[in-house]
Amino acid sequence: MGVAAKKQIGDRGLGEGASIEVMTTMLASGEFDPVQPIVEAVMSGDRPAFDELARTQADWVRAVIFGVLGDRDRVDDVSQQVWVAAWERIGQLRDSRRWRPWLYRLARNAAVDAGREQTRRKRLFERSRAEHQGESATVSCGDTVAEAERRETVWRAIRGLPALYREPFVLRHVQGWGYRQIGEVMDMPVDTVETRLVRARRLLRDALKDKV
């Protein structure tokens, strides 16, 4: 039996004779985590494993950062900071099964810190963008002005969401996670995740009604 499967079954207090039934139960309850062995390798200093982890988990980390910051221009910078911090602080992760909430907290804290530092600059920037409507940075080659304005309207609505609603909304769409997965990462009950998604969509509808 592979090391990863042994450990995951062993952690449940079962012996090596555990059959497929146990594995099925673990899968049904969502306990089987194919990424956990990679995290354990990273915890023992395996750099290629860390690169694999960063590559495969990049999207949702970016989603967390954007969910908190609401500023897509800063996502790349903050994301790099998060992965540097993750490598430096991997020793702080005691339980490899809790790697997602741990990484989520790293990403969230980095985003919050970045938001605080840039608060005044961001206000000035947004004021400037509002004053210069129509010179939107979202205009790209081939875009009509109407498409660019529509896109900017959508982004304004998303940015306008309170972070506590935007975060689960972004994770839901970027990762396709269900309520349970989002709740596990954000460390909140499933009902809370659902409620925040409902409110996020309600706020977006209010902001975009008759505009798109």
């Binding site: 039996m1 592979g2 090391v3 990863a4 499967a5 059959s19 497929i20 039934e21 594995m23 099925t24 139960t25 899968l27 049904a28 089987f32 194919p34 990424v35 062995p37 990679i38 694999e52 495969t56 988990q57 990049a58 999207d59 949702w60 970016r62 989603a63 954007f66 897509r72 996502v75 896109r151 959508v154 982004w155 609505a157 998303i158 909304f169 972004v170 839901r172 769409h173 970027v174 990762q175 396709g176 996670w177 269900g178 309520y179 997965q181 659902e194 998604l197 409902v198 969509r201 309600r202 977006l204 509808r205 975009l208 798109v212």
Partner: protein, 199 residues
Amino acid sequence: MLKRDERIERLINRKLDGELTEDEQLELDRALIRSPEYRALLEEILHIDSLCGAAVKAECSADGGDAGYATTVPHIGTSRRRSTWWLVPGALAACLGLLVMGGLVGDSHDDVRLIVDSHPPVKVVEPIALPEVRTSVPIDAGHFRRIGTGEGLTRGRRDTGVFGAVGDDGNLYLIEVDRFRAVRRPVKENRVRVPLGDL
């Protein structure tokens, strides 16, 4: 009927997120059939959610791709892998045994790919000729069914699930199952236990 409106709004959201139970689906369907206002609400929420969701996904995905929670297939200890082509039938039988236990995805024709981690990198084997497995449940080779006790497995609208099975060689095999639709249904049959040694 504010509470009723909020209830339907919540059910619509759960539908978008693939979290509806069968009873909730029926309740929502009845409401939508009876009320054009609720149908309009569904369309509105779908439209806005789709628009905003596409925007954030395009922005936050590093490669613009679709990295799912359960579809991350790691290279687990590749240095410990060896060419095990002759163990694949055993692993498939183990996987099939896995599939006749636990909860279920019904009424859907699943496209199953067995992902075998080996040197060189991941090899996809399809289609799969299923070996016979001694169970009390008839198996249709083209249509997987899993029988388990209790409520069965709840799966949302996710298209892909990842399962693992431990083969006779001790290696961990991952199966990626693409589904078209998932429902949760209570299952009354007894759990079928298929020890690895019997396969």
